[in-house]
């Protein structure tokens, strides 16, 4: 390095550089402002014999919470919630009146919450020819119609990524987890597929939606129908949790199995009592399970309960309290299978 003088440009280069500098047009002078943001350091974990590198699920924690370790420790220990107060706004469940999004990949299919609503149309419009189109592709496309729409809805607020396809080839993978390649015949025989995830090797029984929760990772996997050597797999990974919902986000319904939903539940200011307010659409009466998880370790359940959600649109309110202050917690919602459910709003305010 001795031959380089890092502090001085050679004299023959300087005029050229200065000319370039002053010749730069006004467009180049408009500079982006650097922004501070969360760091998502790559972490690694041994999963069986595989070294898995992954990005943890990030939480946009409020400054008032991170600055006070007592809130993140004692606040979590003392956390409690009150009765769920449900008020029905309307008994009608009409998907055309709910502002969910169509799939950005397949906008021609319109608003679709459940794969069963779009599969017959795909089968009819793109028939099996055995040389280019085969059955599993219909199934995967129907799932993609649903999943890409839900992804777009969640991404208005934060970030969620999904992948759908055949778990044998071409394979199913999101940035931080994947289905291990498995022949469809073996899948049918043994009855489950395996996901390599930051939470370890997770077995997903056939036709089962499996929530994947690690210390620092949230996601889910679904293993679907088998077609000869092929079978359908679906993965969802929460990259960063939303901390409020202001536009409708649907719960994906894949072959009747409904995926979980995760959100960071935190008041906008430090307080010992807050009110959580949600607006939910449901196509039938159902019991929605709510689990509050520790933001320091998502595997740890702080508290849980069940909400009786009636058919139609309802508001749900409940009080949360803690000392020295209500901490941020991960709110994990799980609607019943077979339902069509949409979360239209979610907010936490000082109560």
């Amino acid at each position: 390095m001795e031959r380089f003088d890092f502090s001085r440009v050679p004299p023959d280069k300087l005029p050229v550089l200065m000319a370039k500098f002053f010749a730069r047009g006004p467009a180049a002078m408009v500079r982006a402002t650097p922004v501070q943001d969360l760091v998502a350091p790559t972490r690694q974990v041994m999963v069986g014999e595989t070294l898995l590198r992954y990005h943890p699920t990030q939480l946009p924690l409020a400054q008032w919470a991170t600055e006070n370790p007592r809130i993140m420790e004692q606040g979590i220990e003392n956390f409690g919630f009150g009765e769920f107060i449900v008020r029905r706004i309307t008994e009608t469940f009409d998907i055309n009146r709910i502002p969910i999004k169509p799939s950005p990949l397949f906008p021609q299919f319109g608003k679709v919450l459940a794969t069963e609503d779009v599969l017959p149309r795909i089968q009819q419009e793109i028939p099996v020819d055995r040389t280019e189109i085969v059955e599993w592709m219909h199934d995967a496309t129907a799932t993609n119609v649903v999943m890409t729409a839900r992804e777009a809805e969640y991404n208005v607020h934060s970030q969620f990524v999904t992948d759908t396809g055949d778990g044998y080839i071409p394979g199913v993978r999101v940035a931080s987890m994947a289905f291990r390649r498995l022949n469809g015949y073996d899948y049918a025989r043994r009855g489950y597929a395996t996901v390599v995830s930051p939470a370890g090797e997770i077995n997903v029984p056939r036709y089962t939606m499996r929530t994947i929760i690690g210390k620092d990772f949230l996601g889910w996997a679904y293993a679907g129908a088998q077609y000869g050597i092929q079978w359908k797999g679906v993965l969802g990974q929460l990259v960063r949790l939303a901390d409020r919902i202001t536009q409708a986000v649907g719960f994906p319904n894949i072959d009747g199995r409904v995926a979980p939903f995760f959100i960071l539940q935190q008041p906008n200011r430090e307080t010992q009592r807050a009110i959580v307010r949600m607006v939910v659409d449901s196509n039938r009466d159902q019991r929605m399970r709510i689990t509050f998880r520790d933001p320091n370790d998502y595997r740890r359940v702080i508290d849980e309960g069940e909400i009786e959600v009636p058919k139609g649109r309802s508001t749900i309110e409940f009080v949360v309290a803690s000392y020295p202050a209500v901490p941020p917690v991960v709110n994990h919602m799980q609607p019943e299978n077979g339902t069509k459910t949409v979360l239209n709003a979610f907010e936490v305010r000082r109560g």
């Binding site: 390095m1 380089f4 890092f6 502090s7 001085r8 440009v9 280069k13 050229v16 550089l17 200065m18 370039k20 500098f21 730069r24 467009a27 180049a28 408009v30 500079r31 982006a32 650097p34 922004v35 501070q36 943001d37 760091v39 790559t42 595989t50 990949l105 397949f106 795909i122 793109i126 055995r130 280019e132 189109i133 085969v134 059955e135 592709m137 219909h138 995967a140 496309t141 799932t143 993609n144 890409t148 991404n155 934060s158 970030q159 990524v161 992948d163 396809g165 080839i169 071409p170 394979g171 199913v172 993978r173 994947a178 289905f179 291990r180 390649r181 077609y227 000869g228 050597i229 092929q230």
Partner: protein, 307 residues
């Protein structure tokens, strides 16, 4: 908290965008350095060893795939495990699976270097191909073949990918790449890549993914530890045949803004390149794009910046 050139998520004309972000050193916030320009000096290149494929990443969903960059070897392996005689296997799936082995390894290598790229291959007609918020427009194979290109849609705009062929999508705040490997009557096979968070001065091997001979570029952030008018980038590239690599330095404020372009001729084997860069008033933090030739196996071994 770390400084980035763009936020994690932004909205452009009402559309949510997850930009390609680059980490910035603290000194980059200094307004005096914000419009800095740069130009390259004469590189010194020496060959220090043979070409080797050791130390590359693993595909987590295909742990038993052959450990090589050679497209034909990987494709033949896929054809063995998923023959076309199976009633649910059609030709595009084999090509896409082979491409996914390469995509998955590349993602692993990029993650190992502490960053994130998303890469995926499949049939854009159905079930569809997307990488985060970029996607191939779903059209029939015959439509794209007759027109001569497939369309990649991103929140910042579209770019066209020749059939067959490759294209780089460079936008103000998104870096992406797409390839079309083949087209049939209904189906076609596409590969999409989106750089989400750029790696800074990588110190571990990252291969340039190559699909049926179409080699993708690699993007990285060149950042010196202190502001200086002269930088020395010492980097190493291994290649399986002599070739010329195109190097472009792009502004971190707008990836379309090319600060300089250069061509570097490499011999077969591991080439170490001492590459002086001059800047005014200092050498800015830049995004480096390296584009090898098609039909090569190329690996970036490391990229070190002095001071």
């Amino acid at each position: 908290m770390v400084l980035y050139n763009f936020p994690f998520k932004m909205k452009i004309a009402g559309e949510v965008v997850f930009p390609t972000v680059a980490k910035l050193p603290d000194w980059a916030t200094n307004a005096a350095y914000r419009n800095a320009v740069a130009m390259p000096g004469k590189p010194e290149i020496k060959v220090v060893g043979p070409f080797s494929e050791s130390g590359l990443g693993k595909a987590i969903e295909f742990p038993d795939a052959p450990e090589t960059m050679d497209w034909d070897t990987i494709l033949n392996w896929v054809k063995d495990i998923a023959p076309i005689e199976e009633e649910q296997i059609v030709e595009w799936m084999q090509t896409a699976a082979a491409a996914n082995v390469i995509c998955s390894r590349f993602m692993d290598e990029y993650k190992r270097a502490g960053s994130l790229v998303i890469a995926k291959s499949g049939d854009p007609y159905i079930p569809g191909v997307k990488a985060e918020d970029i996607r191939f427009v779903s059209e029939r194979g015959m439509t794209v073949a007759n027109r001569g290109y497939g369309i990649v849609s991103t929140p910042a705009g579209n770019f066209n990918v020749p059939v067959p062929g490759k294209a780089t999508g460079i936008f103000k705040n998104i870096l992406a790449w797409g390839a079309v490997l083949e087209s049939f009557i209904v189906q076609w096979t596409g590969v999409l890549m989106k750089f989400r968070e750029l790696v800074t001065n990588p110190q571990e091997r990252i291969s340039f993914p190559s699909f049926r001979g179409l080699t993708a570029p690699l993007f990285l952030t060149h950042a010196s530890s202190i502001p200086a008018p002269v930088n020395l980038a010492e980097f190493s590239i291994s290649t399986n045949k002599p070739q010329t690599v195109v190097l472009r330095a792009r502004s971190v404020d707008d990836y379309r803004d090319v600060l300089f372009e250069d061509k570097i001729s490499l011999q077969k084997g591991q080439n170490i390149i001492d590459y002086p860069i001059f800047g005014f008033p200092v050498v800015p933090t830049m995004v480096i794009e390296l584009q090898p030739e098609n039909n090569t196996s190329t690996i970036l071994d490391y990229w070190t910046v002095y001071p």
